[in-house]
Amino acid sequence: MEEASKRALVIGGGIAGIQASLDLADMGIHVDLIEKKPCIGGKMAQLDKTFPTNDCSICILAPKLSECYRNLNITLYSYSEVQKVEGIVGNFSVEILKHARYVKEDLCINCGLCVEKCPMRVEDEFDRQLRKRRAIYMYYLQGVPAIMTIDKKNCLWFTKEACRICEKNCEKEAIDFNQKDELIKINNIGSIIVATGYNLIEDIDNDILKNYGYQKYRNVVTALEFERMLSASGPQEGHIKRISDGEEPKKIAYLQCIGSRTDRGAKYCSSICCMYTTKEAMIAHEHDNELESYIFYIDMRAGGKGFQSFLRRGEAEYDIKYIKSKIAEISIDKNESPIIVYEDLDTSEIKKLKVDIVVLATCIIPPEGIVKLAEVIGFELDDYNFIKTPPFSPVKTSRDGIFTCGCVHEPMDIPRSVAEGSSAAARAAEIIRGG
């Protein structure tokens, strides 16, 4: 071989980036996969089950995570970010900042002795602040790579020069408080795929959500929080309980288009919430089959494969009531049970409904850091800061050799994110193979 063969760089280890990486690796092309968080998996790892077949999310994701870790054609850089991109299509060089975990990757066996002893309690981001974790932690139970990370912002050693209990308890001597951030340079990259996913409106702005009582009333939660509440490995260990009093709910309402399809928030449709509210209602019903569910919607958008039948099943077998409506107001009674005042658009009457929990289907927004990444790599964003793709070129960006897939360019569900992951891999392979 005269010349080192070209590699591909994939940024973002959600399901879209994972699929792109696995396809390229299986084509025999070397992939460097960059993930900002301590572990890959993205949002799919946080979901309980997934529509339209309701298989357990982490169960079907886990084999893919492992494959990324063990595939010899993939080098995984977790807890890392892209700092600089130079060069042109077919030959980029990239600089990566790998954050120090303060844990030696080759020694840690994820036994958890350190976590047990860590005295610092910190709000758990993965569990959407519904639970506490420690300052040394596994990002999530089934995370890949299965290595602990010390959260420098909260660790007593870094804040008060005290403690170091984890170090004493680690039998493998894996803790290393002297670890430094590392700059890594990768050359010979033929093509780059940006798959940095999405955030939710509550991550940056609670103004719109406040109108629906979010953070004012404890029994108003967001859909992703509710996914964690449903999840067996989540804060309530799979038993749905009201946050206010730990009571099991008998009535749950789901409000759609929160922050989407509105002039006050995002004008666009988030595409997936129509489906996941029915899913969440079905799973909740499986926990307690006397539970009543109400879905408040504007249009039910269910065009994907099997989606209409899914909604029919929701209505027929899970006792879900769909109400085409406009929400006017939310208040609470003395038990902190939310009361929804709404206009029923089928009858144009103003009605009231008291429920035990309100779940908000909040708007999908572009991922944090996308503006900076767009500058570093040099691709254009659209009016909302999603990555701009030309007409009928679904995974192409404005810059040659840079492709994209998944929610970072438009909200979409898992099947489409996976198809786009493969699609971006095909385009990158074209370039790397000189086509």
């Binding site: 357990c56 995570l65 004008k267 065009g303 209409q308 009928f392 489409r416 198809a419 095909a426």
Partner: protein, 561 residues
């Protein structure tokens, strides 16, 4: 079975997975692991929260080394998604991948018997015991290595198929694109402008056709149909018929991109093809400036989202908006009313389009499935839910938004390729979420509206995706395939009486008679389904990894307790 109770050299490890709370939430996995330890030949047993996590896999490897295990049993979710992972895991510590046994205690216990935890637990014990007995007599097998022909066949020359073919040829693979009509382009050939950017359809499609024409490594056969396919992943022999002439091609992978057809709304809303037409018939009329109506009414979901055809065709709402907007642009005082059920305009551009249509004065009235509009002469009656009464709308042009439906000949094609269809006769992928463009049969892939009604953007995405999946095979000179196949061992040959039952019954045509008039099983074609083994009257055929002894061991274990 007493002589088999204890085998000196067999050391089994059993791993019971909680699968979060999927299993552990219902039954006591710790107790199951303790029970497993009491079974003969079991050298180690433990329970894990998630055996498939990196932590779980590490503990399997550790146990294999520490306890010198030579059989591994995992009692967990389902082999469908997880068997490859565990096989890989034990092969990394030097065990043959077939010395692994899967026991399904999630799907078969805690899921189906969710309401009966005690019984589910007892059944899990039975299954684990049976699994342990079978594990004792598992045998190491070799995987089969086959050569790969680096060529691809794409069936269907619409946008999905053309993009798949372009990509594969640019990756350097010899690619054949076959199209049954006399030209490429598919549905796009009969459209005018394309949402959401109102690009001209003919310009767009000509452009792609040019790219196809100029591509290296890419051969196009129009007016051609697939006649027959023989072979297996990496090695397909394809027979194509073009204008009565036979053409033989050899390829390593196949992509299905045959698109979809249109529903003819006979008997619906007085459809007559004149002033009651479909959106598809409207497009050329707009193009040729043949619209001389003042009141246009469009009805959505005509023949879709009902009991007969439950699905949403996902392109017709946007098509209606597109055509309404184009007409409004040409002549803004034409009244256009769209009767809809839910407007399907997801995402960024589509919702924007919907807003635009509202702004331009297109009127939207929602109707429910229980109160469909009725056509009476040149009037439409529709119950307006919002004001709670029936309203009457006059029309001089009625446009019906009908769904994309599966092609009539999908069944025939599915039979030739031995791939499945779903209830509406669209092609059925391997896994809705994680393998959206694969068939369950390796080597054959699917993309575009042949799988499900989708727009152009998604058809192109899927065309590329199918190409990517095919490339994961075509990029290798050889690939490994499943070793658990049917087998006619030398020592059984004299049992065979040549009755040919197996030849006739094999759904994969994997069995034939060779020159010596002997039964021969082509291992690469065999999927190990086992029907020949069950049908063979002389018990001459053995199904590797599912031998009679292995199955009987399970049955004895079940009865034996």
């Amino acid at each position: 079975m007493s002589e088999q109770e204890k085998k000196e050299d067999v050391r089994i490890g059993i791993f019971v997975c909680h699968c979060g709370s999927n299993i552990g939430g219902l039954i006591d996995c710790k107790a199951l692991a303790e029970y497993a330890k009491t079974l003969p030949n079991v050298a180690h047993a433990e329970d894990n929260l998630f055996t498939c996590s990196e932590t779980g896999l590490a503990s399997i490897k550790k146990a294999v080394e520490e306890h010198d295990l030579n059989r591994v049993v995992v009692a967990s979710c389902t082999p469908r998604t997880h068997e490859p992972l565990f096989r890989e895991c034990i092969s990394e510590v030097g065990l043959n991948r077939y010395l692994f046994n899967f026991v399904n205690i999630r799907d078969q216990c805690t899921w189906v018997h969710m309401k009966y935890p005690k019984e589910a637990y007892e059944k899990a014990k039975d299954l684990i015991r049976m699994g342990a007995y079978r594990a004792v007599i598992l045998e190491p097998l070799d995987t089969i290595i086959v050569n790969v022909n680096p060529g691809a066949l794409v069936i269907g020359g619409g946008v999905a198929g053309m993009h798949a073919a372009l990509n594969l040829s640019r990756q350097g693979f010899k690619t054949y694109l076959i199209e049954k009509e006399d030209k490429l382009g598919g549905r796009l050939n009969s459209l005018y402008k394309l949402f959401p950017h109102d690009i001209d359809a003919s310009e767009f499609v000509e452009n792609i056709k040019n790219n196809v024409q100029n591509a290296q490594n890419l051969e196009v056969y129009t007016s051609s149909k697939l006649k027959n396919i023989k072979g297996f992943i990496g090695n397909y022999e394809v027979e194509v018929e073009q204008d009565g002439k036979k053409i033989n091609l050899s390829v390593g992978a196949i992509i299905v991109a045959v698109g979809a057809s249109l529903l003819k709304p006979n008997n619906l809303f007085g459809y007559d093809g004149k002033n009651r037409i479909t959106q598809h018939e409207l497009e050329p009329k707009i193009k040729n400036n043949e619209i001389n109506a003042n009141n246009i009414v469009m009805i959505q979901c005509v023949g879709s989202r009902n009991d007969e055809r439950q699905y949403c065709s996902s392109v017709c709402c946007m098509t209606a908006l597109k055509n309404a907007l184009i007409i409004k642009e040409k002549k803004s005082d034409i009244n256009i009313t769209i009767l809809f059920r839910d407007l399907y305009t997801p995402g960024i551009d589509y919702e924007e389009y919907y807003k635009k249509a509202r702004k331009k004065g297109v009127l939207f009235i929602r109707y429910g499935l229980d109160k469909e509009p009725t056509v009476e002469g040149n009037q439409i009656k529709v119950y307006n839910e919002y004001i709670g009464e029936e309203i009457i709308i006059p029309y001089d042009l009625l446009v019906l938004s009908t769904p994309l439906i599966a092609n009539d000949d999908n069944k025939e094609l599915a039979q030739i390729l031995k791939v499945p269809l779903e209830v509406n006769n669209f092609f059925l992928e391997a896994h809705v979420k994680l393998r959206p463009n694969d068939f369950a049969t390796d080597g054959i892939y699917i993309g575009g509206s042949a799988k499900w009604p989708v727009d152009i953007t998604e058809s192109i995405t899927q065309g590329y995706a199918a190409a990517s999946r095919a490339s994961t095979i075509l990029s290798h000179e050889t690939i490994e395939i499943e070793g658990a196949t049917a087998y006619l061992p030398e020592w059984n040959k004299n049992l065979c009486k040549g009755c040919e039952v197996c030849i006739n019954i094999c759904p994969y045509n994997a069995i034939k008679k060779n020159e010596e008039d002997e039964i021969e099983i082509i291992e690469a074609l065999c999927k190990g389904c086992g029907v020949c083994g069950a049908a063979c009257t002389k018990k001459a055929i053995i199904i590797k990894h599912f031998t009679n002894e292995q199955i009987l061991a399970e049955i004895y274990a079940f009865g034996g307790k």
